[in-house]
Point group: C2
Chain length 384, copies 2
């Protein structure tokens, strides 16, 4: 976990972050405004970034508007990039991502071996093949909780045992590696580049093929807790007398409201890897039975949302994946149940939106790898 808890130390990091979340391009005047610094400071800071080939200044364009037109600040092609990887039950996705959050190239690899060591070898080979001279490091998203030291105690849905995943990967990769939980990273990505932009306290929930994960982003930083395990929304109790959960508890939100719960209500049984696809096809043209099952699941979700809202006090809630689709089938119901459970109106009157990013997890992994650069751009080679 590469310092995601640390806020940028100085103004320079803030500037680079601002440019990064603006998609890699912004007018100099707008940046000065958003940083709240003087114009001369901006000149100094941009000089520092330019020394490190992190920005290029375009002195021509700019929209008029009365006075001298502002320069455009652009992240150039030779700026640093990172290699992001996503581990999924059925395979890997690897991508090269540039500052600004743009995916420059991507490749996928089906999981061929159930043995972690063999599978990781293949993953590392693919990741290494993405390395170019300007790659800073690797970020890896894992469908498992991840401890601050890089240990993944239980990639339940992969069938892997507890592994010192970061250490294992570092043995095969020659650049710095950071790893974290996939749902946490998706939350971070939606905050930086998606539906959570500008939020001060973002609550994010999502479902994959199985399980229900999420994350909280407070003032731009992932809420990681003491060990890195914070925000396991799938395992808050929504009904102590409910179904038993593989985690050992009963009535967890995950067993009551994830994709499998929905399929169970419908009496559908499909293999793990095609759960999400099946859900999607069912929701495309929902029958009355499907809608009723959706209603049951949404009701459970709203109970969980209520508990979370009372703890987190979010100013935005983003629902990733098909969770957003389920919500949009009956937003008023979910909002109503949330309002019942929320302790105060302010806790419930929060914008709820589906996620905006198709590759939130992958982009989040890239954010993880970019974080050291954003935290302290000056620590990176000043080059010519």
């Amino acid at each position: 976990m590469g310092g995601v808890t640390q806020a940028p130390k100085d103004t320079l990091g803030q500037l680079l972050l601002e440019l990064h979340v603006s998609g890699g391009q912004a007018s100099r005047a707008a940046l000065t405004d958003r940083l709240g610094c003087g114009r001369s400071v901006m000149g100094y800071l941009l000089g520092e970034l330019a020394d490190r080939s992190l920005v290029r200044i375009d002195r021509t364009g700019g929209k008029p508007g009365g006075g001298r037109p502002s320069h455009q600040v652009i992240i150039p092609p030779q700026a640093p990039t990172v290699v992001a990887a996503q581990i999924q039950p059925d395979g890997f996705t690897v991508a090269t991502v540039g500052l600004g959050g743009k995916i420059l190239s991507r490749s996928t690899l089906p999981l061929r071996s159930p043995q972690p060591s063999e599978a990781l070898d293949e993953l590392c080979e693919l990741m290494n093949s993405h390395v170019e001279p300007n790659v800073l490091g690797f970020g890896v998203a894992v469908p498992s909780p991840v401890r601050a030291d890089g240990y993944a105690p239980a990639a339940l849905h992969l069938g892997w045992p507890g592994l010192h995943l970061q250490q294992l990967l570092e043995e095969h990769l020659r650049l710095p590696v950071s790893i974290a939980n996939d749902a946490n990273l998706a939350a971070l990505a939606e905050h930086r580049h998606g539906a959570g932009r500008g939020s001060h306290q973002l609550l994010y929930l999502t479902t994959g093929n199985v399980g229900l994960g999420g994350g909280v982003v407070t003032d731009g930083r992932l809420f990681l807790g003491a060990h890195g395990y914070a925000i396991e929304p799938g395992h808050i109790t929504v009904d102590p007398g409910g179904a038993s959960c593989p985690c050992g508890s009963t009535g967890c939100l995950e067993v009551e409201a994830d994709h499998r719960a929905l399929l169970r209500l419908l009496g559908v049984d499909v293999p793990l890897r095609s759960v999400a696809a099946r859900i999607e096809s069912l929701l495309a043209e929902p029958t009355p039975e499907v809608l009723e099952a959706v209603h049951r699941v949404n009701t459970r979700l709203a109970i969980g949302l209520g508990s979370l809202a009372n703890i987190v006090d979010a100013d935005r809630i983003v629902l990733g994946g098909t969770l957003g689709v389920l919500y949009e089938l009956e937003p008023d119901i979910v909002r109503g149940k949330l309002a019942e459970r929320a302790f105060l109106a302010d806790l419930a009157h929060v914008p709820i939106t589906p996620g905006e990013l198709a590759d939130s997890v992958l982009l989040g992994a890239a954010e993880l790898a970019f974080q050291p650069l954003l935290d302290d751009p000056r620590a990176f080679p000043a080059g010519r």
Copy 2:
């Protein structure tokens, strides 16, 4: 809310905070160690603090130990103080508190009028009577959620309507006023001066006469959420089919596990203001019936703790007030149930301790008033 979310901006604030949590006295060498700075920096910083009469250096004493004995750094009597106030259903407590967290004087006032405006007039008079030349400001703890702008939407147990409490108090007080929720402030106080010292992620729960509140302290800062309403542990759902709660929901932890819940199980009915006292007397020599009721309540509490642990990932859990007493009657039961509900062993294997402070709420209110000084000591008048 006076900037409790802001970490000290500079090293000077960190130093003053370190001295503050050390009880107002520490050796210069120990401080240098804990700040991780050079000895010359410490000299410079102590000079800055001395210029502001915030410290006195005692060059004599010090324990030997091989080399030159280290000076003692002491907060002198003329250092700034604050006036802290606690609003309770049956009256007010007001105290003058010094740096280091020592209560210098205190007074109480029974609540004479059910009218907020009259009651607040009396409170302000008492608070003003505590003002001396070196008082920096006021901190007030309220048995209600408090919004970041000082609005208290529902002091349910006082019977007061929503009030712009901070504004109302400021009209009668001539020094800066900060207000916040009492349970949040108790959490902050236990972190700075009590059972939560040194914790990076503290989860605190407590009960008063009625209700169940708490707070989270992350890296030394109160977790306040988007509006200031974060961490209402009393209103997470522990049983959707459970008793209805005045908040409009059902099966809230508060109605299932607070003091009234315990008395309800025992068929005892006493007026609000004597609930806590009655609980205390019952627990002093518990009968088998009392123990059984305690068991029921502890079981509910553990369900809530499980949900909270899975979200917060604390490295310490502190139970304030009689919650700590209930826990200590059967710690293994609570720990066991928590382990069942926690998603991972690391989330449950957390030290659980009763609170250490008799006046946690009052001390927390003082912390609130001290915060601007700790955030930026240089902003306060230099020279003697």
